[in-house]
Amino acid sequence: MSRNAIGRDIPDMAPGFGTLRGYGGAFGTADSRLAATSRRPGAKVLASLDAALDAVGVRSGMTISFHHHFREGDLVVNMVVEALARRGVRDLVLAPSSLTYVHEKLIDRVKDGTIRRIRTSGLRGKLADAISAGLMDEPVLIHSHGGRARAMDGGELVVDVAFIGVPICDPMGNATGSLGASACGSLGYAMVDARVAAKVVMLTEEIAPYPLMPASIRQDYVDVIVKVDSVGDPAGIGKGATRMTRDPRELLIARTAAQAIAAAGIIREGFSLQTGSGGASLAAVRFIRELMLERGVKASFALGGITSQLVQLLEEGLVGTLLDVQSFDADAARSMAVNANHREVDASYYANPGLAGCAVDALDVVVLSAMEIDLELNVNVITGSDGVIRGASGGHCDTASGAALTVVVTPLLRGRLPSVMDSVTNVITPGGSVDLLVTDRGIAVNPARGDLLDALVAARLPVRDIAWLKRLAESYTGAPRPVEFDDRIVGLVEYRDGTIIDTIRRPKGLRA
């Protein structure tokens, strides 16, 4: 028996409840007024990034995460890593959802030992070149968006501190990507980080009055808030509206893809779709829309990275709901802020294969692009024809695995290089999850999908054997000399389930 803070006698034990703790004051300590102040709005807003780093205690060897919703406009990764380098932190594991051209500064931070390991969906530009040439002692891990969410929600990837840049939040840390100068729309990838990270540091350009609702990131996940001048360069975050290609070749591929999707019986009332954000994949939306109008049918939802073209479908009533994990342009960001049927979803909801359900599994069709595709329909979207990393895994293998019909679109030739080959340089998406390849010179069908073959032939679409497409490509280009690699493994490609589907080797002759 002991006496608690307000003088009541409390037993040490109670049957069924074990040891009891006696009340110690309204805020757990004797000094109630000070404790209360520490939880008032604004208390977690710190004056500087350094103060925030002190508060969360970033130490050498920790895993820190970032999101890539600011795309080529991102300023957060460089800002935080530079600050940590100045503090002498070493051996960090960098776990952003993706990296882009703007992150080449990280090369120096790898060289000086600030960063030991990187896991990311994508790598581009000079950082990618350097890593391909053997910059890092440890290979980079390339994951899919769903695979990253699986690793995080499943506890395989433990994040010590998540740094989440936002255009605006309130003093408690409720944040949205839909408002502010650096509005980026959905914060779908960051939502998982906020949920699982041991500590969350929010970097914001603007602090709005409490409560900022609806919030993409909730106050209960946010430990510290820092106001910074800028989290992103709007010019790099995304244009007002994503432009539809005018390239006749891409339009031809897109039209053929839409016809194939129709022939497969997908374009019916209530179907669902996802497309990429550029080239023929995006252009397919235009032709799918025409077929929907012709047939008088509507889609139930469109998923993934959302562009102005999908917003148009929503506003025309041709699609019921947009599930937005990433808004690719200002139109999409604006729409999500005002349209109740344009919903933000996080990366786990989108594509995590480790939980009891994700949206990609409800897709009827996905249209994906490819840098290379081989006779087994394996797809490469990570390494160029020279073997150097210059792409992103993204949701490619997630959607291919989930969708009832997976359509890969690519021109047969890119410059002088055939897109169709005996064996791709690296595999991101296994051919077993690809149903159709649509090129500007014909369509190849996965041999396991005899039903599709019949449907496409019946629709008088130009069906070709994939080996025929390869031969046609080489009739223009000649057979390419193979790229040679040495034994140095510079990257591991993780499939969405956490297994390693391929390794990225260093092209012969490259040196960091």
Binding site: R249, D440, R441, Y476
Partner: protein
């Protein structure tokens, strides 16, 4: 019947487009050495078109090359390159008189001999782009057995006429009709001018319908997106096709019975109706005419 519903212009100095312009499904591809190529690049474009003709497989799509006129420093060398390369058709621009055709014909004959190509294997097509040319259309159309079509080039023509192009094309009406009549009189095809508003699908279809109604066999097109639209205009509707099939069947029936009278649904059918029905079926790709 060789269809020429669409002839897709490809600038002669654009290697990536020359490679496979046929993938958009035109009835003919038209490599341009004339207005699409600046004087400084005439030689370079000629080399590209020559290599394209020599090396690329266009899957049986007719390869037409628009050369520069023989009154320019480029015309003769164009003919040499194109005949040597093996083009199917040479399209002569700004044809004003039958003499223009005869001059080209001689040059082509000489080139065929020089490069060991089969005499007469290179067909000709003439574009008429002036008032003088339109008034000589009948003689132009009959000037050479190599001629397979005549075409109207509207931009130069309306300038020559001291007017401009209007949406309904009233200023071109007489010229178009004269051109079609000249072509029919000579038993060759008539090809309508380009429609330059690439984004104006409605305007294109309106003009193509007019051309078809006037009797043209097709249009020159400047963008792949116009091909599907033009084929939509020139392709018979299912109703037209169904009727044509019945007419042709009735005619075959009458012939089998040795009867000179063709009747369908109790009505007598004249020969021109049968001929039209055959043309409808040919446009649908159902018969060779």
């Amino acid at each position: 019947m060789k269809l020429r519903r669409t002839m897709l212009y490809v600038p002669g100095n654009a290697p990536a487009m020359l490679r496979d312009a046929h993938i958009y499904g035109p009835d003919s591809v038209l490599f341009d050495l004339e207005d699409a190529v600046s004087p400084r690049e005439k030689d370079a474009a000629r080399h590209l078109v020559f290599q394209a003709l020599r090396n690329y497989d266009y899957g049986g799509v007719e390869r037409v090359v628009r050369i520069n006129g023989l009154d320019t420093p480029y015309g003769l060398e164009d003919i040499a390159a194109v005949v040597s390369g093996g083009a199917d058709v040479i399209r002569l621009p700004k044809t004003d008189s039958p003499e223009d055709i005869i001059a080209v014909e001689r040059a082509v004959e000489a080139a065929e001999r020089r490069f060991g190509r089969k005499p007469g294997s290179t067909a000709l097509m003439a574009a008429i782009e002036s008032a003088r040319g339109i008034l000589a259309a009948r003689e132009i159309a009959a000037a050479s057995p190599r001629l397979v079509a005549i075409a109207i080039g509207a931009e130069d023509f309306v300038t020559d006429l001291h007017t401009t192009r209007s949406p309904d094309g009233i200023e071109l009406l007489a010229a178009r009709s004269l051109l079609v009549m000249a072509a029919r009189a000579a038993g060759i095809m008539a090809i309508d001018t380009v429609f330059t508003g690439v984004d104006d699908e409605e305007g294109f279809v309106r003009e193509a319908r007019l051309a078809k109604q006037l009797g043209f066999d097709g249009k020159s097109v400047i963008h792949p997106s116009q091909i599907v639209l033009a084929h939509g205009v020139w392709t018979p509707t299912p109703e037209e096709l169904a009727k044509a099939r019945r007419v042709v069947a009735a005619a075959a029936d009458a012939e089998a019975k040795g009867s000179g009278v063709i009747s369908l649904d109790g009505k007598m059918i004249d020969k021109p109706i049968v001929e039209r029905a055959l043309r409808v079926m040919a446009l649908a790709g159902e018969v060779e005419a």
